[in-house]
Amino acid sequence: MHALRILRGGTRARLSATPGDLVFEGLSTLVALSVVGLLVVITVILYLVAQESIRVNGLRFLTDTIWDSVSQRFGAAPFIYGMLVTSGIALLLGVPVSLGIAIFLSELAPPWLRIPLTFIVELLAAVPSVVYGLWGIFVLGPAMRIYIEPGVQSVLGFLPLFQGRPIGSDVFTAGVILAIMIIPTISAVSREALLAVPDSQREAALSLGATRWETTRLAVLRYARAGIFGASILGLGRAVGETMAVTMTIGNRAAFFGSLFEPGQTIASQIAGRWLDASTPLELGALVELGLILMLVSLIINAFARLLVGRFLRVGEGAE
């Protein structure tokens, strides 16, 4: 045990500091630090390119609803709105399904089913997003237009959210694609969280006469809720930054939408659709400023999620 600790923590308790060790240590420190440096460099460069837009537009950039390269007026509000709405739909649809998958895999599934099913769900995360986008254009879009959206409309059509004629390439379709894309992330991390719940919790609930569902609800879910919440936020992080699949399904319209059956645009899809065309420094700056906003939002979301999940999993292990 002692020898191993020395081997692993070799930087401080150095037993034999050969030149090779020193070079290796220096190199790996350099590589590790360069990642941090890269993040700083990216941020600084993005800021420099965006400066023109930040100077001209100021804070109005966040609230202006018009993106018009003819009059060179650029506002980010429709895209921030589009991002929030599509991610919201994705969470609303994705979290319950993911939670169901996680509960099944950790609490209910027989062992012979558990391993292949876990593998398949995680495989969904490996499908490139452009493939989801293609599927969205050719399969999901028409299905939404012909079956799902009219169906939703016949039940909830009185809400302004579901009015207008379903077109299949709209905010709702993009939200559904995102929901499917974040399911693997949320269910895998939630499953970890559920598995980290100590068995003593389950045993205690069972010994009090709780049914299986009551055990899951009272002892397991409640115990793991911080982890599940963190998992959902991680999923949100993916939904917010997803570009390709959204660009291909959302209908690419740079304006506010009242109904989910209208086309829209997210920050990521706007950048993807327009970066090639930016012909003036102001337009380029505005696009890069969008990128900065997206990066900031993603960083905050991911840091928050990792904090939650990390703390929860540590607590779970400690209790065991």
Partner: protein, 389 residues
């Protein structure tokens, strides 16, 4: 226990026995890489016997099918040893006119394609760019309505109202007035437009502005702030979106509507005639262009929209190659490349025109060919004129 195991593992690794598979893998990968490199000609660039020159262009998707065809034909032609000079590969990246102009302005490509002439401010940002009209295009109003066959009659005014969102139903009085005897469905119109910055959009919105004062100048441009509609990327993207969206209408370049066999509207031209988009109708519109400016002049007001003539199709436009008059402003340029470049341009406006009609692009008029000859002759490299052949 764990300690001794880990130590043993470490020592085994160091003794070299465990490294053999790694060494083998590295050798195999290296051999494969070298083989690929040799095959692709990275190691011996002159392996084919003929030197190679690559020209890079980017821009409009409107002439994309034609330029792509030119590039493959020209590479085949110049590969032959009977033709002097290097083998010329032309890479044309169909990214949209807006992107093309911004790339030629930043000098990251050798030439750009644009359906819109340079605006005065764009000209100021990239001085000494020549406009070389390389072909003529027509923008069609293509639709996808199950009950309707091709040839629905639409005036430019009605078209503008549809794209403004003031006419929202297929059976609106404006449309039915021009289509007596046609049963129009009582369903909403789905408008499809370009989501990227596009010369096709510039041509189309310029036309709408010309024929309908309600389509204000603020809605004219390569990427205006559309009042209604779904956005799609590129001519091909709009064509695809129309085909997959029932009751939709959008604007697509003629070559794309023909290739996709789409239903297109007849438009009322300047002389009050209903005209279907076709090669002949597009050429008729181009023939009406009276006196074009010099190649290095201001082309921003040149237009063959709503051209006079009984057979002229109203939404026609020249599409341009933008080339620097002095090629040494491009860092990746040298004498050989410059010579190959002007040779290619020369061929494009002469021999290349034979390839136009099968791809649904009209031939250049003789007036434009003469104008272009002067433009290409005026191109220099380090002040030296290049004699195109």
């Amino acid at each position: 226990m764990a300690t001794t195991e880990e130590m043993e593992k470490l020592q085994r690794g160091r003794s070299g026995r465990g490294r053999l598979p790694v060494v083998v893998a590295v050798i195999v990968i290296a051999v494969i890489l070298i083989a690929v490199a040799a095959y692709a000609g990275w190691l011996f660039p002159s392996g084919g016997g003929k030197a190679k020159v690559t020209l890079n262009g980017a821009g409009a998707t409107f002439p994309c099918p034609l330029i792509t065809k030119w590039s493959s034909e020209y590479a085949n032609m110049t590969k032959s040893t009977t033709i002097p000079g290097p083998q010329v590969t032309v890479n044309y990246n169909c990214v949209g006119s807006g992107a093309g102009v911004s790339q030629i302005t930043r000098r990251t490509v050798d030439f750009a394609g644009s359906d819109a002439p340079l605006s005065p401010s764009e000209r100021a940002a990239a001085p000494n760019l020549l406009h070389i009209p390389e072909t003529i295009g027509a923008v069609t109003a293509a639709y996808n309505v199950a009950e309707l066959s091709t040839g629905l009659k639409l005036t430019g005014f009605t078209l503008a109202e549809i794209f403004r969102g003031t006419i929202t139903q297929w059976n609106s009085p404006n449309i039915s007035a021009d289509n007596v005897g046609v049963t129009l469905p009582a369903r909403p119109i789905q408008v499809v437009h370009r989501s990227d910055s596009s010369g096709t959009t510039f041509v189309f919105t310029s036309y709408l502005h010309l024929v309908n004062p309600g389509w204000t100048a603020s809605l004219v441009g390569k990427a205006p702030n559309w009042p209604v509609g779904i956005g799609a990327q590129g001519n091909a993207g709009v064509a695809g979106k129309i085909q997959t969206t029932p009751d939709s209408i959008g604007y697509v370049e003629l070559a794309y509507t023909v290739a996709n066999n789409m239903k297109v509207a007849q438009l009322k031209n300047h002389d009050g005639q209903w005209v279907s988009p076709s090669l002949a109708a597009t050429a008729a519109a181009a023939a009406a262009l009276a006196s074009p400016p010099p190649p290095d002049g201001d082309w921003s007001s040149v237009s063959i929209l709503d051209a006079p003539g009984a057979t002229s199709y109203p939404i026609a436009s020249l599409t341009y190659l933008l080339v620097y008059k002095e090629l040494n402003v491009l860092t990746a340029m040298d004498g050989t490349k410059a010579q190959s470049f002007v040779n290619f341009l020369w061929w494009a406006i002469h021999g290349g025109q034979d390839l136009s009609e099968p791809l649904t692009f009209p031939r250049l008029t003789t007036g434009l060919v003469t104008l272009n000859e002067g433009a290409i002759r005026s191109i220099t490299f380090n002040g030296q004129t290049l004699n195109p052949t």
